[in-house]
């Protein structure tokens, strides 16, 4: 049976004007899990609830099998975090920040921190204020990776980064999960990043869980279908999600590609969907608005 690092059950959080509603999903151990959704979908809220930075209204969050409120300290000792904005005193030098923050972790490795700072080509004697957004993310990542964390939680870490560094960051994350003991939860609205590294994706929209998907499953069962409009009938309509008309035909996402292939009479066009395609079609499906 697959082991989970995070188990979320009927989680609910209410803010003025936004409700994260009764969502349940798991983050499997040893994989990169992408938390995907448009801006304002509730990704940051979920991460803050996991980190116990906000109080849930109801539901349960278990991290490493432990309740995240009751065993908060134990859990956070095993989590490395990278948030979307810098939360350090920016007028402090990197080496000073490392010495100030690191020793709170029971498995802090100062040598590893120093070697990561070196590997990321950061100058330890520079203040954080002197660094670019990408370099600040590198610093946060160096902190997150220097205490042998079992889970890395990242909230929109690639937002505002240049493409080159984004690729570099994704490569680093790939290396982190090499031994199958580490897991990563990565929230982003830049789905192309997750296309590269995510094994499992959790789609969130308007505070609701859309679906959870394994990448392998997407490869096998999901597809974008283009066909003549008369291909859609009342009988097979359920096979398509977020369909839209265009020109003389239609375009839709199918979650049962083998079945649709069987139905095909030769004039269907199939395409492998990216996570962005899936997000788009599921969004269309949720809003029930076929586009022309």
């Amino acid at each position: 049976m697959m082991e989970n690092v995070i188990e979320i059950e009927t989680l609910r959080k209410e803010y003025k004007g936004f409700t994260l509603g009764d969502i349940s999903f798991n983050v499997p151990k040893g994989y990169v899990t992408g938390l995907i959704g448009p801006n304002g979908a509730g990704k940051t809220t979920i991460i803050r609830l996991i980190m116990n930075l906000a109080r849930r209204k109801r539901g349960a969050i278990r991290v490493f099998g432990l309740d995240n409120i009751e065993h908060g300290v134990q859990i956070r000792d095993r989590i490395g975090f990278v948030y979307d904005t810098s939360y350090f005193y920016e007028d402090q030098r990197l080496d000073v920040l490392g010495r100030a923050i690191g020793p709170f972790y029971s498995r802090w490795d100062q040598h590893r921190f120093e070697s990561l700072i070196d590997q990321f080509q950061l100058s330890p004697r520079k203040t954080l204020a002197a660094l670019s957004k990408g370099m600040k993310t590198k610093f946060a990542l160096a902190l997150a990776l220097s205490h042998d964390a079992d889970l890395i939680v990242m909230d929109e870490p690639t937002t505002g980064l240049d493409p080159l560094f984004r690729r570099e960051l994704l490569e680093m994350l790939r290396e982190v999960i090499q031994n199958d003991e580490k897991s990563i939860l990565f929230s982003t609205h830049i789905t192309s990043d997750l296309d590269r590294i995510a094994d499992y994706a959790v789609f969130i929209e308007n505070g609701q869980l859309h679906c959870t998907l394994w990448k392998d499953e997407i490869q096998e069962k999901w597809g974008i279908v283009r066909a003549r409009e008369d291909f859609i009938t009342e009988d097979n309509k359920a096979l398509f999600r977020g369909w839209r008309k265009h020109g003389h035909g239609f375009e839709a996402l199918t979650v049962d590609l083998p079945h649709v292939r069987q139905l095909a009479l030769g004039d269907l066009v199939f395409e492998k969907p990216t996570l962005e395609d899936i997000l788009f079609f599921l969004h269309k499906d949720a809003t029930h608005a076929p586009t022309h």
């Binding site: 109080r55 300290v73 859990i75 956070r76 989590i79 939360y87 920016e90 100030a100 923050i101 972790y105």
Partner: protein, 221 residues
């Protein structure tokens, strides 16, 4: 906890030092400007500057959302809160102590610069002991009320605006406390009033710390 206190002081060291230098400038200038500076003028100034020292810590923490970092680290909330209380008490005591020592140092090392009256008063009409008790009690009650609010609702601008409100309240409040301190001394005697005042100060800080833990734990980030 010691690491948190050290981080609190170290990360704000530049600004604390800056305030300390301005405090010294203010003390030096007041010595030459005041025609009749009383002996405890610098002690009185120490009480005033202590609030600014604490303000620096609160403001910078709010500006950089220190709570986001602290609460993401494996540190229990009571430890974070307690460390902040100790930092506040430490900074306040040191500033007051420095104010108190300032005049003494001046009189010891450069007596010709000291033109102070040797009246043992901070405020006219009150013995210095009564003033110190009243002011310490005032600061303890003030921090006991303010700190939980900062932990729960503290943002940069709220703290800036709150600071002016606090200064006004402290200014008004201290007169009442002085009168109370005087009456209490007549009624209980100085040593008993000192004991009760210490008890009130400690109790208010302890209750405040407990409330802070509860509020900080429920803070929405």
């Amino acid at each position: 906890m010691l690491r948190l206190i050290r981080n609190d002081i170290r990360s704000n060291a530049t600004y604390l030092l800056l305030v300390f230098m301005i405090m010294n400038l203010a003390l030096v200038s007041s010595l030459s400007w005041y025609h009749y500076p009383h002996r405890y003028h610098s002690l009185q100034a120490g009480f005033g500057w202590a609030i600014i020292m604490v303000l620096i810590v609160y403001l910078r923490d709010a500006y950089y959302q220190g709570q986001l970092l602290n609460r993401s680290l494996p540190i229990p909330v009571p430890t974070i809160v307690l460390a902040r209380y100790v930092t506040v008490i430490l900074l306040t005591s040191m500033t007051i102590l420095y104010g108190w020592l300032y005049q003494a140092l001046l009189e010891t090392f450069v007596p010709h610069l000291s033109r102070s009256y040797l009246a043992a008063q901070m405020e006219s009409g009150y013995a210095v002991e009564l003033s110190v008790i009243a002011r310490v009690l005032g600061l303890c009650i003030l921090f006991s009320v303010v700190t939980p609010l900062v932990f729960r609702y503290g943002t940069f601008w709220r703290i800036v605006v709150g600071f002016f409100a606090v200064e006004v309240v402290y200014g008004r409040f201290i007169d009442q406390l002085l009168a109370l301190s005087l009456r209490a001394t007549f009624f209980f005697g100085l040593s008993r009033w000192l004991f009760f005042a210490s008890l009130i100060a400690l109790a208010s800080l302890a209750i405040s710390a407990r409330i802070s833990v509860w509020l900080y734990d429920r803070r929405i980030s």
